[in-house]
């Protein structure tokens, strides 16, 4: 049978390609973990599995307790609406992940060419991608909810519950994955060659911000607007009345799920079959349409923009920084150029500022009123440090921890140069600490101006913020060197999870210790009659001194690790 002429064969071929891809992904997962023969990876896999088992146990206990409580209290909960609401909420996650997955698969994954040169119709390859995505989503859903489903099955003496929900998890994402995949094919026509990663990052961030903002603006649970809540919806949950509408897939999935929970087989099958029929139709239509779109020229070769030499020269940094040796200045400028020219990197850099705005800006009047009620003095100045610390947390991780890994495969350029690794690390410390200290100082300055704790307290707080920004970022560069990754192709993989965990822990110790010291200094002044300013300065000195020591150790460890590294 010529699969090119037969649409059904193309769809079936898509299923086959999808399963093939899925098998390859599973093999890669197993090879990278259990069969890696690397102690670190094996340990990571075991720890990961242990965490999952722990979370599952916790979820099972909570579900069991919930079932017991509801059977005693006889609370009237609208299960259809609750489940529909859950599926509707899941839709946002699906849209978000599908868009990223589809664009990623089309623009960045190196295996697309490999698949397209194989003797499979284009439709089958594109459909195969959708199948992989749906399977992945189903497994993720099961990963999160399996214990609850099993406990429900035991408690309600209904062993089919997990099976029906697994089927719903498989069917529900289909229409979204297909629609988003087709839309992605249209979208990539307008993305210039080589800009995929940037566009993808922007999309991810815009979608994340958009969903959060919409949730904040529209979700009655987050507002005190006096919205009338539907009966049966617990007050802790958001309420969207249309979620359970019988014309929406979330309503079908919700109804089928609710029916199996009450043991109504007929209703379960009716709604699940409706979902199956619509999903299958959309999958077939999407497969055929995606092939047509691809063959019509799925990507316009929009050439990368040529830079105008004159304009470019006028904007160029001179290549020197005052007080910095040329090599270190060169590393700082090179990193600055890399981070600001790559949209993905730039967003890493800019996002913390946006989140600072969201966290503090939206609640600004209430926060300001409470802090200003403290009056002038060190306590108010200390609270002014908080936005700076939030920013420092984010920037020291996004810039400090990635400073060394930022080199990626280009690390050979340093490795063959006549410079020590310590010199390289010094350059990296400057490149991460300069922008971090500047931004943290700026935010702290603004916070202190708004809070008005008195200029002397404000000045010391700003100095402390700058010193902490420099030391914490230096520490993160050291940790980043210990856990450096140079083989990444996707910038998100620059960070080693263990490195992030250790970095976050040490950040908490340093800032927590610092806050504790400042509080102790105030208490000490009150108890002993020492001038507050003296004890405050002593606390600052101890706090910064401790951070400097930890940072120096971090850099030394990082240097030792880099010295022993072979980048061949």
């Amino acid at each position: 049978m010529d699969s090119r002429a037969n649409p059904i064969a193309r769809v079936v071929g898509g299923l086959a390609v999808g399963l093939l891809l899925w098998r390859a992904q599973l093999q890669m997962f197993i090879n990278q973990t259990f069969r890696s023969r690397q102690a670190g990876r094996l340990a990571g896999a075991i720890v990961g599995a242990a965490i999952i088992v722990l979370a599952w146990s916790w979820e099972a206990i909570i579900t069991w307790a919930g079932i017991q409580a509801s059977s005693r209290a006889l609370v009237g909960i609208d299960v259809v609406h609750l489940l529909s609401l859950a599926f509707l909420g899941y839709t946002a996650v699906l849209v978000f992940s599908s868009l990223l997955f589809s664009l990623n698969a089309l623009l960045l994954n190196p295996d697309l060419d490999l698949l397209l040169v194989a003797p499979n119709p284009v439709e089958s390859v594109l459909a195969g991608r959708m199948v992989t995505q749906v399977l992945r989503l189903m497994l993720l859903s099961l990963l999160f909810t399996a214990p609850a489903l099993i406990v429900l099955a035991i408690a309600l003496h209904n062993p089919v519950i997990p099976v029906v929900f697994a089927a719903l998890y498989l069917l529900y994402p289909v229409f979204i994955v297909v629609i988003i995949s087709v839309l992605s094919l249209l979208l990539v026509r307008f993305i210039p060659v080589g800009r995929g990663r940037e566009v993808l990052t922007v999309f991810g961030v815009v979608l994340a911000l958009g969903i959060n903002l919409l949730n904040f603006l529209l979700n009655p649970a987050l507002r005190d607007s006096g919205f009338a809540r539907r009966p049966g919806v617990p007050p802790a949950l958001p309420d969207i009345p249309a979620a359970g509408a019988p014309f929406l897939p979330s309503g079908w999935a919700g109804r089928s799920g609710a029916a199996v929970l009450r043991g109504d087989w007929l209703a379960t099958a009716e709604w699940a079959l409706l979902l199956l029929a619509v999903s299958a139709a959309i999958f077939v239509a999407g497969t055929i349409l995606s092939g047509r779109l691809y063959l019509a020229g799925w990507i316009q070769a929009v050439p990368p923009r040529r830079r105008h030499p004159a304009a470019q020269r006028s904007r160029r940094i001179s290549g020197a920084l005052p007080l910095l040796n040329p090599l270190l200045a060169s590393i700082v400028i090179k990193d600055w150029r890399m981070r600001t020219r790559d949209l993905a990197q730039l967003l890493r850099f800019a996002m913390p500022v946006v989140f600072i705005f969201i966290i503090f800006g939206l609640r600004f009047p209430r926060l300001l009123g409470s802090i200003q009620s403290l009056g002038e003095g060190p306590a108010a100045a200390m609270l002014g440090l908080v936005p700076g610390w939030v920013l420092l947390f984010s920037l020291s991780i996004s810039l400090g921890l990635t400073a060394v890994s930022l080199e990626g495969k280009s690390i050979w350029v340093y490795a063959v140069s006549p410079n020590t690794t310590l010199r390289f690390l010094q350059g990296k410390v400057w490149s991460a600490a300069l922008p971090t200290a500047f931004l943290v100082a700026l935010v702290t300055l603004v916070a202190e101006i708004v809070i008005r704790p008195g200029w002397i307290w404000a000045a010391t707080a700003i100095l402390l913020a700058i010193a902490q920004a420099a030391t914490v970022t230096t520490l993160m560069v050291g940790i980043g060197a210990v856990f450096a990754r140079f083989d990444w192709t996707d910038a998100r993989r620059m960070l080693n999870p263990l490195g992030v965990f250790i970095g976050m822990g040490l950040f908490a110790v340093i800032t927590g210790g610092s806050a504790l010291l400042l509080v102790i200094s105030l208490a000490l002044a009150g108890a002993t009659g020492f001038p507050v300013f003296t004890t405050w300065l002593a606390a600052m000195t101890i706090s910064v001194g401790g951070a400097v020591a930890v940072a120096a150790l971090g850099v030394l460890f990082g240097n030792e690790h880099l010295r022993g590294l072979e980048v061949g």
């Binding site: 350029v413 006549p418 072979e566 061949g568």
Partner: protein, 254 residues
């Protein structure tokens, strides 16, 4: 100018390079040949300080690369087979950065950059990001960066891959001029025709072991047949058997 003694590199039970003894003099354009996986790139990476040998010694520009790596590296230029460059830098910016890494005085650096960009016909696109460069153009930028600090020894790993015939010819001329100044080129290549035409001496490595070293004439004497091409010598010394290949291909047809 360059020598190794019993240089070895092992990865667990796998021996990539074993007891390699090389001697390359000043002004030589030395060809380092071998089949895929023979250990060419591993050897070069040990000589430029990217990999640490498991045993043995290596001196480059008469400096022990293991004992004094920074001093040796200052005299080395290196062009990897697939140079990963900073995509978001322009060629000019990358060369500026590279010059700073090798401590080239700023004015001298800028002058050399302009000269090299013109030499490699990259002057017009010197301000474009490297992400927009073809493989051949990236290879040229990589070579320009390797020449920028005026090294004594230039290591090239498959330098002609991705180059058009014109650029390959240009590279050959540049390398020969480089050697005329008494400097050394150590080049690995798969293209035996290029090695035959360009190199003053050759070494052939197979399964990590040196199987022959000398001028083309000396290699011919070694296999006992004058007038043989480098390709024939290479196949003979590395044990590649054409008849076996034909048999296998015939087997695939049936």
């Amino acid at each position: 100018m360059l020598s190794t003694r019993l240089l070895s590199k092992r990865y667990g039970s796998l021996t990539a390079v074993e007891d390699l003894d090389l001697e390359v003099g000043a002004g030589e354009l030395f060809g380092f040949l071998g089949p895929n996986g023979a250990g060419k790139t591993t050897t070069i990476k040990m000589l430029v300080g990217l990999l640490r040998p498991t045993s043995g010694t290596a001196r480059v520009a008469d400096i022990d690369i293991l004992a004094e790596p920074e001093m040796a590296k200052a005299r080395i230029g290196y062009v990897p087979d697939a140079a990963t460059l900073y995509d978001k830098l322009s060629a000019r910016e990358f060369l500026e950065f590279s010059g700073d890494l090798y401590h080239v005085e700023r004015r001298l650096r800028d002058r050399r950059i302009e000269t090299l960009l013109k030499l490699f016909d990259l002057h017009e696109r010197g301000n474009d990001f490297l992400s927009g460069y073809s493989r051949g153009m990236r290879q040229k930028v990589s070579l320009a960066a390797a020449l920028l600090h005026d090294p004594q020894v230039l290591f090239l790993d498959e330098p002609t891959v991705g180059l058009d015939p014109q650029s390959a010819r240009q590279m050959k001329d540049i390398l020969q001029d480089f050697c005329k100044e008494g400097k050394t080129v150590f080049m690995s290549t798969h293209i035996l025709e290029i090695a035959e035409r360009m190199c003053t001496r050759l070494a052939i490595i197979n399964h990590g072991r040196l199987v022959a070293m000398g001028s083309l004439q000396e290699l011919r004497h070694m296999v006992g047949q004058d007038g043989q091409s480098l390709e024939q010598i290479f196949l003979e010394l590395t044990g590649s058997r054409e008849e076996d290949v034909s048999a296998v291909l015939r087997g695939l047809e049936s």
